[in-house]
């Protein structure tokens, strides 16, 4: 909760500086900011994200010294970085895996916000700025992935730009302006490089706004109960949370290092080590893992609704899945912030999280393939009968199928194929996609009204005392 500054310049220099540019005061106030003392480790991910952004910017600027944004040279320039530039392999691995780490942290950060009600009044703008950051991250990551100019880079960007082309009226123009030509090529690569360099700084700017907006009401906390008494409920950000965030950042870096040094390619695709060939499409085009849930939602809509084609509906659903996050503060009707005290909502939230992860798996697989088979494969014989109607007969025995096939006239156009029966990835995408949207559009609005929440603690200090079993009225332990 913002309040008057408590900084007092002590030395001659600091007094002089304070009268001209109060930047030390600004830093001092940030460090002294009263922060709830009961924050758990889910709250460390904001600091982790700031470090991720810094890592991506520094490693990216360094890579930009060696990368060449030209379709003839891009792939080779990346390999040159890996082989010839001193420590180039390290910096490239950091940047590529750093993007994945960035998204991992942002998803945990967002899930934290959803669980503890950090998006609720008066923190709606913090949440909305956060969704803006998320969108910018997705755009940055998408363009960054195009730069190595591998098969996935090229064909993945072709898929996404084609999707944008389905938007009515403006779609084709936007698509052409995005590509800089009739297809993905040199103009595209050059402008993607320029924008990819620019966007992280835009993200940094929005992050400043995000943190500024946070410092007005102050941090949320696991109880969802607002700070009542600054002395009893809060501690200064430094050193209490600088050291806790520092610890969490180091643990995060250990995981990051494991990927960079031991599994640098685990989160990527082998196909992206093949130089882009516009004439040959890879068997399965997939985006990076952090975009998979939206890819699943995109491909889940296979039916037209009225005049709107399935392809456009898929695009609308995909953008809708992100867009709905903007209005989350108004969809959740509950007066209680933290799901710690909303047992039903908490269970529904867990299902929602598993749906998101599940959608990720769906996005990685071909929608027509099977999650599991419900029976062993059989054979299907398709042919046109004497009236010209298509027929399909299922056989288990190959010889029987062949016998039937040889009895048919050549005009029947008989063909034999495998008949796999089971549960398709497509259906799983549709179910999980429905759960995703229902969470926002049905469960949250409904639960706020019908759920009876558990009693909340009177204050943060009270909840901490209860946890440690000390008497509420007695003075707080050894201060």
């Amino acid at each position: 909760m913002s309040g008057p500054s408590t900084y007092e310049p002590k030395s001659g220099f600091t007094k002089w500086m304070d009268e001209r540019l109060p930047i030390i005061r600004f830093g001092g106030d940030l460090m002294d900011f009263p922060t709830p003392k009961n924050l758990n480790y889910w709250w460390t991910f904001g600091g982790i994200l700031a470090v991720c952004l810094a890592i991506q910017i520094v490693s990216g600027i360094v890579l930009a010294m060696h990368y060449v944004a030209n379709t003839q040279m891009a792939f080779a320039s990346v390999e040159r970085i890996m082989r010839d530039v001193d420590f180039g392999w390290l910096i490239r691995n950091i940047h590529a895996n750093g993007a994945s780490m960035f998204f991992l942290a942002v998803y945990i950060h967002m899930f934290r916000g959803m669980y503890y009600g950090s998006y609720k009044a008066p923190r709606e703008v913090i949440w909305i700025l956060g969704v803006v950051i998320y969108l910018l991250m997705m755009a940055t990551a998408f363009m960054g992935y195009v730069l190595p100019w591998g098969q996935m880079s090229f064909h993945g960007s072709a898929v996404i730009t084609n999707l944008i082309g389905t938007i009515p009226l403006v779609g084709d123009t936007v698509k052409t302006y995005l590509m800089g030509g009739p297809a993905i090529g040199d103009p595209t690569l050059n402008r993607f490089f320029s924008l990819h360099y620019l966007m992280p700084f835009v993200i940094a700017g929005v992050v400043v706004l995000h943190i500024w907006a946070l410092h007005v009401p102050g941090n949320n906390n696991p109880t969802g109960v607002s700070v009542k008494d600054v002395k009893k409920d809060t501690v200064p950000f430094h050193p209490y949370y600088t050291v806790k965030d520092g610890f969490a950042i180091i643990l995060f870096l250990i995981m990051f290092a494991a990927f960079v040094f031991f599994f640098p390619n685990a989160l990527g695709h082998a196909d992206n080590s093949i130089e882009a060939n516009p004439l040959q499409t890879p068997a399965h085009i997939v985006p990076e893992w952090y975009l998979l849930p939206f890819y699943a939602i995109l491909r889940a809509i296979t039916f037209d609704i009225g005049p709107i084609p399935a392809k456009l509906l898929g695009v609308i659903a995909m953008f809708g899945a992100i867009g709905i996050l903007f209005v989350l503060p108004w969809l959740d009707t509950s007066k209680v912030r933290s799901m710690r005290y909303r047992p039903v909502a908490r269970s529904v939230f867990v299902v929602f999280v598993f749906a998101c992860v599940g959608l990720g798996f769906c996005g990685a697989n071909d929608p027509d393939k099977l999650v599991f088979k419900t029976q062993a494969d059989t054979l299907a014989l398709t042919y046109n009968d004497t009236n010209g109607h298509p027929q399909r007969e299922v056989f288990d025995d190959y010889n029987a199928a062949r016998a039937k096939m040889s009895n048919l006239p050549p005009t029947a156009g008989a063909a034999l194929e495998i008949n796999s029966v089971g549960f398709k990835w497509l259906w799983l995408s549709q179910i999980l996609g429905a759960i995703y949207f229902l969470y926002f559009l049905l469960f949250l609005p409904l639960l706020g009204v019908i759920e009876k929440p558990k009693p909340r603690p009177a204050s943060i200090a009270d909840s901490v005392r209860k946890k440690h079993g000390s008497a509420p009225a007695a003075a707080v332990a050894a201060e």
């Binding site: 870096l253 685990a266 093949i274 893992w289 798996f361």
Partner: protein, 303 residues
């Protein structure tokens, strides 16, 4: 501690997905460039492994320099007839960790073995005659790339029946299974099972990507694994004499060239793992120090 169990489950799920997503992804899959991911999804052949497996893929794995030299010789005498490695230069062969590294020549450009190897690749490098200005082909120097024998992709296709021999610089990163894929391919030229029609100019390989359904006359559920490729078994008539006296067998050549290509695709792998072996324990030590600092700071605050 309320959410702790759930948190652990969630993190476990995320960790599992980080590894499982690439594995589940698809059959001729992407993912897991060098780190020993065998073909995961059902329906695909498990890749072959030589005796002893792939030690270079271990956490502390290194390359045997003799094996790299043997593998390079196989490349030079068998594969370079059609395949280039244009993202490598000859001097890379003499770098630390490479097949011809010699501590007496820290600058690989001076390495005489590398110079000699480069010189054997005659008429390779497109250049300009300094006297007449005409385009001309020069013998390679150590600073030159290991270009393929063809002037461009069109020429390559014309001389190979329409098929383009891929560049081998990063082939082990570009194929699911890495060195295992190359090895399986070399060992996978088995006789096509009865009922499989092999088109003229094509060859059946049990480990090549693709679909044999269209050429299979039997039960579609029992279609043979693998696919067809334009390259005949390159080791069929190959008889590379190894300088270190290792007996020449088809399996030995397949093994050695796979390891050489794995090195070529990721020459910094050993250095990378060595640095990781220093960085991660350092970070663990640092985390303990910072944790103690954290505990000390919070000691007197009930939270």
């Amino acid at each position: 501690m309320r959410l702790a169990k759930l948190a652990l489950a969630g993190l476990a799920a995320l960790a599992v997905s980080a590894i499982a997503i690439p594995a589940l992804a698809q059959e001729h899959g992407p993912a897991a460039g060098g780190e020993a991911e065998h073909a995961a999804s059902g329906g695909e052949h498990h890749l072959l492994e030589p005796k002893g497996g792939w030690p270079h893929e271990d956490y502390f794995g290194t390359f045997d320099q003799n094996q790299l030299q043997r593998g390079f010789k196989v490349y030079q005498e068998v594969c370079s007839a059609c395949h280039g490695m244009k993202l490598l230069s000859f001097r890379n062969l003499g770098e630390q960790g490479g097949p011809f590294y010699d501590a007496r020549y820290p600058n690989p450009n001076d390495n005489p073995v590398v110079k000699q190897i480069a010189a054997t690749f005659v008429n390779q490098i497109p250049s300009i005659d300094p006297d007449s200005g005409d385009p001309v082909k020069m013998p390679a120097k150590t600073s030159d790339r290991i270009l393929g024998p063809y002037a461009n992709d069109i020429a390559a296709r014309v001389l190979n029946g329409g098929a383009l021999p891929p560049d081998l610089s990063v082939i082990t990163k570009a194929r699911h299974g890495g060195a295992g894929y190359v090895y399986s391919l070399m060992e996978g030229y088995v006789a096509p099972p009865a009922g499989l029609t092999v088109a003229a100019g094509q060859h059946y390989n049990a480990y090549f990507g693709g679909d044999t359904a269209a050429s299979w006359a039997g039960d579609p559920r029992l279609k043979p694994p693998g696919g067809f490729l334009a390259m005949a078994w390159p080791l069929e008539n190959a008889n590379v004499t190894f300088d270190d006296g290792t007996p020449t067998t088809k399996e030995q050549m397949a093994h050695d060239v796979s390891v050489f290509l794995a090195w070529a695709g990721d020459p910094k792998a050993v250095a990378r793992k060595q640095m990781g072996t220093a960085v991660i324990p350092f970070l663990i030590l640092l985390s303990i120090l910072v944790f103690l600092s954290y505990k000390a700071i919070w000691r007197n605050v009930e939270h």
